[in-house]
C-alpha cells in the first residue's frame, strides 16, 4: 500500500513535496539510484515515488539549515567580538589556485589553521553529514553505503577544483564544472561507474541545494548599480534574446527537445553556467542536455573573451559602450572581467557591473521558466487538457520557491539591517558561497558518472544545438550593441561617470 493511501489522501504529500508520480528517468528530476537496494534502474521508481521525499523538499531543508546556521554564526560572532566576520570561514573552503604544484592550493604560508585543507575537510564533513541525514531520512539510504560512495564523489569534486585552480587553466575561464563533468565522464565511459558509488549519485539534490544557496547571493539592491542604462542593457535585451532564441529553436530549427532549447537559450542569453543550471532544473532538462549546453557555453566564452576586446580596440568603439556590450554578451562573469580589463579600469568596472546586473536576472528567469513549463509545455504534453491550479502547484519545481525566498530574505537583510551589506557579505563569503560551489561541483561529477557519450550524440545530430547557440548569440551581440550604444553613447552619455 502506498504511503499516500495510508494517510487517506494525497493532498499532504502534494503540498509538502512528496512525489506520488514517477518522473521520467532521463531528466534532472530523477535518480534511479535513490536506494542501494535498487540496483536495476528500471525497477525502483514506483517504490521511490511512494516511500520517499522528493529532492525539492530535501534540498530546501539542507539549504535552509546552511543559511540559518551561517547567519546565526555571523550574529553570534558579532555579538561576542564586535567584528562582522563568519567564524565558519576557516572550516569552509575549496582548494586555492596554484601554479607549480597542486599542494600550493591546500597549504597556506601562515598558520595551518588558515590553510584551505582545513576548509576542504570541513566542507566534506558539513556536506557529507547534511546529505547523509537528508538521504537517510528522505530516501532511506543507509549510512554504511553512502559514506564511502560520498567520500569518493567528494574527492572527485575536489580534484575538479584542483584542476580548475591551476593558474593558466583558471585564467581562461575553464571552470570547475567542465572538469567535474569530465572526470565523471572519463570514469563512466571507460571503467564504468561502480555500483557501490551509486548511492551518492544525487545530481538533482546537489544541484537544487546549490541553487537555493545561490538565491541568497541574488541581492536585488545591486540591480541599480549602474542606474537605468545597466538595467536596459541587462534586463531588457536579455529576456528578448532568451525568448527569441527559444522561439527560433522551436519554430525554425524545430529542435526535438524543448528543454535543450530552453537551457541553451538561457545559458547563452543570461549568464552562462549558473543560468544553465537554474534553467535546466526549472524545466526538468535531461542531464546530457545540461552537459551539452555548458560545453558549448564554455567553448564560446573562451573565444569571445579573446575576440571581443580585439574587435572593440580594432574598430575604435567607445570603451564604455564596448565594455557594456561585453558585459551583456559574454556568458561567464569571470571572462567578462578579463575581457573588460583589457579596456582599462573603467572598462572592467562597466563590464563587470553589467554582468552582475544580468546575474541577478537568474532568479526571475528560473521562476519564469518554471511557470511557463508547468502551465504551458507540460499542459501541451497532456493533449491540451486544461490543467488546474492544484495540478500546476503539484508539478511546479518547489526549489524555485526556495531560491526566490532566499533571495528576498537576504535582499531584505541587506537593505534593512544597520550593517546589512557587511552582514550579508560575511554570511555569503564566509560559508554559503563555497558550499554552493561544492554542491554544483558534486552535481557535475554525478552528471558525468551517469552520462554515456552515446547519450550525447543524438543531441548533436544535425548540428541544431550549435546553430541555435550561434544564431542566438548573433542576435544577442547585435541587440546588446545597439542598446549599449543607445544607453551609454546617446541617452545617458554624460551620466555614467562614477
Amino acid at each position: 500500500m502506498g504511503r499516500a493511501a495510508v494517510f487517506g489522501s494525497t493532498v499532504p504529500f502534494i503540498l509538502f513535496g512528496m512525489n506520488n508520480e514517477p518522473a521520467q528517468d532521463t531528466n534532472l528530476d530523477s535518480n534511479p539510484y535513490t536506494s542501494p537496494d535498487h540496483e536495476d534502474a528500471s525497477e525502483p521508481k514506483q517504490t521511490e515515488s511512494l516511500t520517499t521525499v522528493n529532492e525539492d523538499l530535501l534540498s530546501m531543508a539542507m539549504a535552509a539549515i546552511i543559511l540559518v546556521v551561517s547567519t546565526l554564526a555571523v550574529f553570534i560572532a558579532a555579538d561576542q567580538s564586535g567584528d562582522i566576520v563568519s567564524p565558519l570561514k576557516i572550516f569552509v573552503s575549496k582548494p586555492g589556485s596554484w601554479t607549480s604544484s597542486p599542494f600550493e592550493g591546500f597549504i597556506s604560508k601562515g598558520s595551518w589553521m588558515d590553510s584551505p585543507i582545513v576548509g576542504v575537510i570541513g566542507s566534506f564533513l558539513i556536506i557529507g553529514a547534511l546529505s547523509a541525514v537528508a538521504l537517510g531520512v528522505g530516501k532511506k539510504i543507509s549510512l554504511r553505503s553512502y559514506v564511502p560512495a560520498f567520500t569518493l564523489v567528494f574527492a572527485l569534486a575536489t580534484l575538479a577544483y584542483v584542476m580548475a585552480g591551476q593558474s593558466l587553466v583558471k585564467s581562461y575561464n575553464l571552470e570547475y564544472a567542465l572538469w567535474a563533468l569530465g572526470l565523471g565522464l572519463i570514469i563512466s565511459n571507460t571503467i564504468g561507474t561502480p555500483t557501490w558509488l551509486r548511492p551518492s549519485v544525487h545530481t538533482e539534490l546537489f544541484i537544487k541545494t546549490g541553487l537555493v544557496l545561490l538565491g541568497a547571493e541574488v541581492l536585488m539592491s545591486r540591480l541599480l548599480a549602474l542606474g537605468l542604462p545597466g538595467v536596459f542593457v541587462a534586463w531588457v535585451v536579455t529576456p528578448i534574446v532568451l525568448i527569441s532564441t527559444y522561439v527560433f529553436g522551436q519554430r525554425v530549427l524545430k529542435l526535438p527537445s524543448r528543454s535543450l532549447n530552453m537551457v541553451i537559450s538561457a545559458d547563452m542569453s543570461v549568464c552562462g553556467v549558473s543560468a544553465a543550471i537554474a534553467a535546466a532544473a526549472a524545466c526538468k532538462a535531461k542531464k546530457e542536455e545540461l552537459s551539452l549546453a555548458i560545453g558549448m557555453s564554455l567553448s564560446f566564452t573562451v573565444l569571445m573573451m579573446i575576440v571581443l576586446p580585439a574587435v572593440i580596440v580594432a574598430t575604435g568603439l567607445n570603451p564604455t559602450i564596448g565594455a557594456a556590450w561585453m558585459g551583456g554578451t559574454i556568458d561567464s562573469t569571470g571572462a567578462v572581467a578579463v575581457a573588460g580589463a583589457t579596456l582599462g579600469d573603467d572598462g572592467l568596472e562597466i563590464a563587470a557591473t553589467v554582468k552582475m546586473i544580468q546575474n541577478i536576472l537568474i532568479g526571475v528567469s528560473a521562476f519564469g521558466i518554471a511557470v511557463y513549463w508547468v502551465t504551458s509545455v507540460e499542459r501541451d504534453g497532456d493533449n491540451q487538457n486544461r490543467v488546474g491550479v492544484f495540478e500546476i502547484w503539484r508539478r511546479f519545481p518547489k526549489f524555485v520557491i526556495g531560491f526566490v525566498m532566499a533571495s528576498i530574505t537576504f535582499s531584505i537583510l541587506h537593505a534593512v539591517l544597520a550593517n546589512g551589506p557587511e552582514v550579508t557579505s560575511a554570511i555569503i563569503k564566509g560559508s554559503t558561497k563555497t558550499l554552493r560551489g561544492y554542491f554544483f561541483c558534486l552535481a557535475f561529477v554525478c552528471i558525468g558518472l551517469e552520462t554515456n557519450f552515446r547519450d550525447l550524440l543524438p543531441q548533436l545530430r544535425g548540428g541544431k544545438p550549435l546553430i541555435l547557440y550561434l544564431c542566438g548569440q548573433s542576435l544577442n551581440l547585435i541587440l546588446t550593441l545597439l542598446m549599449a550604444y543607445l544607453m551609454f553613447g546617446v541617452v545617458f552619455k554624460d551620466w555614467i561617470a562614477p
Partner: protein, 69 residues
Amino acid sequence: MRTNRQVAAFMIIGFAMIFIWLRVLPRISHQPRVMERLQRLDAKGIDASAMFYTELPCMDEILERRGVR
C-alpha cells in the same frame, strides 16, 4: 564486466592528465608573458573562473567606487 581495454583507456587518460597538469601547464605558466598576464589579473582582483559576481574579488571595490553598498 570491465575489460582490459577499458582499464587501459582509463589509465592512459589518467596519466595524460597527470602529465599535462603537473608538467605542461606549470611550464607554460612560468613563461614570462604568461606570468605577467596572470600577475596582472591577480593584481586587479580578477578571478577569470568566476561563475557568479560574488566570486569576483574586484566586485567589492567596484561597488564601493560606484557608491553601491
